[in-house]
């Protein structure tokens, strides 16, 4: 199996900083320019730009250039991958039980109908 563990290293590094997590929270509300992020955080534009670079490296933020403005978007895909890797397998129990239950209910209902439609001898 091709391991993609290393892919997540920049994601962990980026998430390890509280200011960067705050930036992600802001972008979760809606996309913002770098200036808007600096204003919202009351931090210098320079500091915010450094943190955005780290978030971009981890692909947690993606930038779209619109004329002279650079608009930052939250990209939650890497976080989804963290979720799938550590949490996804624990969803299994209840969800597969539910599917199993549903299937057996359907099976019983279906075979009940079958019996009524074409009764078999014996």
């Amino acid at each position: 199996m091709i391991s993609s563990h290393d892919d997540l290293d920049p994601v962990w590094r980026a998430l390890a900083n509280p200011l960067r997590r705050q930036i992600l929270d802001l972008l979760r509300e809606h996309p913002r320019t770098t200036g808007e992020i600096a204003d919202a955080l009351g931090d210098s534009r320079f500091v915010v730009m450094q943190h955005l670079a780290s978030l971009r490296e981890a692909a947690l933020v993606t930038v779209e250039v619109d004329g002279r403005r650079r608009i930052n978007y939250l990209n939650p895909v890497p976080i989804q991958r963290i979720y799938e890797r550590w949490v996804g397998k624990y969803q299994g129990d209840w969800a597969s039980a539910l599917v199993g239950l549903k299937r057996s209910v359907e099976f019983n209902t279906a075979s009940h109908h079958d019996r009524r439609r074409k009764p078999k001898n014996g």
Binding site: H30, Y73, Q91, V99, K102
Partner: protein, 180 residues
């Protein structure tokens, strides 16, 4: 409201492999929640994502651009939501053996329902494309979701049934709808 969403994933594979998964016809696309893409890719042509058995159509749109292996643009409407079509742009770039996939979804005009619904879906779909291309299958969580969706398919809105979709009824009269 004119929301715009951008989702990105980097995949350790050549661009041709990733492109082939995204534009695969006739067989289910596991990352796209086990749907089958049906279209001839010509700009102006219809495109749909349908159930494997062909009875239900979940997404309907029109091809706008098709430039292998870098760009696929189409309109997008959930068949169960009576909203005007939105726009989906797939963009692929390769560098150093990695392929970057960017999906930009825009033209949501007062369409909070579609916008909310696709935001989580694209996150899952792009993660799944990476997983399928790199490991051959979608993650366990998604496989379970697919199982649930199959099981509850009979409860899906009747608007998703092929015979209830006005655009497809007209197309069928023309006669040449491609069957997988």
């Amino acid at each position: 409201m004119d929301e715009r969403q951008i989702h990105v994933v980097e995949i350790r594979a050549p661009i041709a492999t990733v492109w082939a998964e995204i534009t695969k016809l006739r067989h289910i696309q596991k990352p796209m929640f086990n749907t089958v893409l049906e279209t001839d890719f010509r700009p102006g042509s219809r495109m749909i994502y349908r159930s494997d058995d062909g009875k239900r159509v979940f997404i309907i749109g029109e091809v706008r651009e098709f430039v292998p292996p870098t760009r696929f643009v189409h309109t997008f409407r959930f068949t169960n939501l009576p909203e005007t079509p939105t726009l989906v742009e797939w963009q692929l770039e390769e560098s150093d053996g990695m392929t970057k996939v960017t999906v930009t979804h825009s033209k949501f005009i007062d369409q909070q329902k579609t916008a909310d619904s696709v935001r989580t879906s694209w996150t899952t779909i792009l993660g799944n494309i990476k997983s399928v291309v790199e490991t051959g299958d979608v993650p366990l969580g998604t496989r379970i979701k697919h199982g649930l969706m199959d099981t509850f398919m009979f409860m899906a809105p009747k608007e998703t049934l092929r015979e209830n979709i006005a655009e497809l009824r007209q197309a069928n009269r023309g006669g040449d709808h491609g069957k997988g």
